[in-house]
């Protein structure tokens, strides 16, 4: 299969079930909502080292937020249900609570699993906090030096999907980066999907474990490192000199699939030789995104 002269490998991306929460952060203006969201989602690229994965889903207008102010929607994922509230409490407490003018609301209101995030954060108010029930939901008002920080008492949690991916194999680094950037632009603001890595792009794809160091849980993906083509069981085709990866997390498999479809098509441009995907033989993750099936 070829798109714009780019070979689509007959393979699949293997992804995992994770737990996901959606946060709506609002601010006096879009700048301050974004400032909080950027800090909140910082150092949240991979559960391997960050314990969570997070990213900005999209920006919201005042008509789309609970308090009528501009906002940002953030998706937040962890591998298990226990660590999601832990990460949310720590991160919201250090990044959104601290950010001027912001408020924080639940974006998965229909999810039956509820995480008592605001309820935990309320104690920062040192007994001066107050709650209000509005439309059946409880909100906590925390007194802060600026005025008050408003946070919803509970946040919804549901099963999500982490680790959707595709690899861009290009003739050179410039072409790989241009294709990756085009893919990211095409996937930005799609509902239910985030790209947790810097700029949405990964240059250091990893494999499970290590060939040399016993204590490493992930090491460089040497089959796709062009510099190692001559000395490893390389999967880098001749003519390919740079590989970049796009990793996608989302609220469900259809959202990931829709984003991969758009992103891969955008990445098929001059200088790109092939698009492939990372998997573990289908033995580890329950979600398999077959590239040719998605693009058919």
């Amino acid at each position: 299969m070829k798109i714009e002269g780019v070979t689509i490998e007959d393979t699949f991306a293997e992804a995992f079930t994770m737990r996901v929460a959606r946060l709506i952060i609002t601010g006096r203006n879009a700048k301050w909502a974004r400032e909080a969201a950027v800090k909140l989602t910082g150092f949240a690229t991979s559960v391997i080292g960050c314990k969570c994965e997070a990213g900005i889903e999209r920006e919201l207008t005042g008509d789309e937020t609970p308090d009528g102010r501009p906002g940002v929607s953030v998706l937040f994922l962890t591998l298990d249900k226990e660590s999601l509230p832990e990460q949310l409490i720590v991160r919201i407490g250090q990044t959104v609570l601290t950010c001027p003018t912001t408020a924080c609301f639940d974006g998965l209101t229909l999810a039956p699993d509820r995480l008592a995030v605001g309820k935990a954060l309320r104690v920062f108010g040192d007994g001066f906090q107050a709650s209000k029930v509005i439309g059946g939901k409880r909100y906590w008002r925390l007194p802060v030096m600026e005025g008050e920080f408003l946070v919803e008492e509970t946040f919804g949690m549901q099963k999500g999907v982490g680790g959707g991916n595709f690899l861009i194999l290009a003739e050179n680094a410039d072409a790989a980066l241009a294709a990756a950037e085009a893919a990211v632009v095409a996937m930005t603001n799609l509902p239910g999907v985030i790209l947790p890595f810097p700029g949405g792009v990964v240059r250091s794809g990893s494999k499970v474990g290590s060939k040399r160091y016993k204590n490493m849980i992930a090491t460089t993906n040497d089959p796709f490192d062009p510099t190692l083509r001559a000395i490893t069981a390389s999967q880098v085709p001749v003519g390919v000199n740079s590989v970049l990866e796009i990793v996608l997390d989302g609220t469900d498999a259809p959202a990931i699939e829709a984003a991969m479809r758009v992103g891969i098509r955008a990445a098929c441009r001059p200088g790109v030789v092939a698009i492939t995907a990372g998997n573990y033989g289908g033995k580890l993750g329950p979600h398999h995104f077959h590239l040719r099936k998605i693009l058919a």
Binding site: D67, K132, V133, I134, G147, E148, L150
Partner: protein
């Protein structure tokens, strides 16, 4: 089961009619005949609801009442759920000690709306009361939780002794509003005669008010202006003769 139970006042009471049997959630399991048999008190004498109201519909959590109900007391008392809409003004004790549900009065209400039984420590413990007119004395007195909205003026001592919850007054709040309040909020969009035991804290934009106002606009169609939604409020902490963790939020017209 009907979409709604409708009570229409057929025989106007000549004396106070205590009809605290009227509550939306209580009618969910009652047929029209059973509803008509519910006990009321007219001028201290026992009577039946059907002696005064015609009943249409049955077994519904939505209840509508129509007529001049200014002599009817205790409507929605102890209500725990459902929707009660009143087309007209009502007497005292509207939603007294209610625990849940919504009461929407297209008219005024008498004393003690959302308040407590005589001698009881707590008034309403949940739910919402919207009064599209004025309210008598002690609206929301001793409320433990819940929301009372008065689009007109509120009589003396609104929110007296509140433990928590919110009383929102669009018009003027008469003397003694919030007296002996422990926690809870009185939000005044108009003038308020504030007790001396409340102390000014600051002028700011309480972040929960836009949420509340947008909810009221959406749920009840109340005309909330942007100046009130996005405006600044003076915060007065009190009652300092009590716990002092309550507040009066007074809108600052700019």
């Amino acid at each position: 089961m009907s979409d709604a139970v409708v009570l229409t006042l057929a025989t106007a009471p000549t004396r106070p009619l205590v009809a605290d049997c009227i509550a939306a959630d209580r009618f969910t399991s009652l047929g029209a005949r059973d509803i008509g048999q519910l006990p009321v008190t007219h001028g201290g004498r026992r009577a039946r609801l059907g002696d005064f109201f015609t009943v249409t519909g049955e077994r519904s959590a939505t209840l509508r009442i129509a007529g001049d109900l200014t002599k009817v007391e205790g409507i929605g008392a102890g209500m725990a759920g459902g929707d009660l809409v009143v087309d007209g003004s009502v007497g005292r004790d509207l939603g007294r000690a209610m625990a849940g549900g919504r009461i929407d009065v297209h008219g005024s209400a008498g004393e003690n709306a959302g308040g407590a039984l005589p001698g009881a420590a707590r008034g309403m413990t949940g739910g919402e009361i919207v009064i599209r007119g004025g309210a008598g004395a002690q609206a929301g007195a001793a409320a433990r939780r819940g929301l009372i909205v008065v689009t007109g003026d509120a009589g003396p001592q609104a929110g007296r002794g509140m433990i928590a919850g919110t009383v929102l007054v669009f018009g003027r709040a008469a003397a003694g509003a919030g007296r002996f309040l422990k926690r809870g909020s009185i939000v005044a969009l108009g003038a308020i005669d504030r007790p001396a035991t409340f102390r000014y804290a600051c002028t700011y934009r309480p972040p929960h008010l836009p949420l509340l106002f947008r909810y009221l606009r959406t749920r009840y169609g109340l005309a909330m202006g942007d100046p009130q939604i996005t405006g600044r409020y003076e915060r007065y902490s009190g009652d300092l003769a009590e716990l002092g963790k309550g507040e009066i939020l007074q809108w600052v017209a700019e």
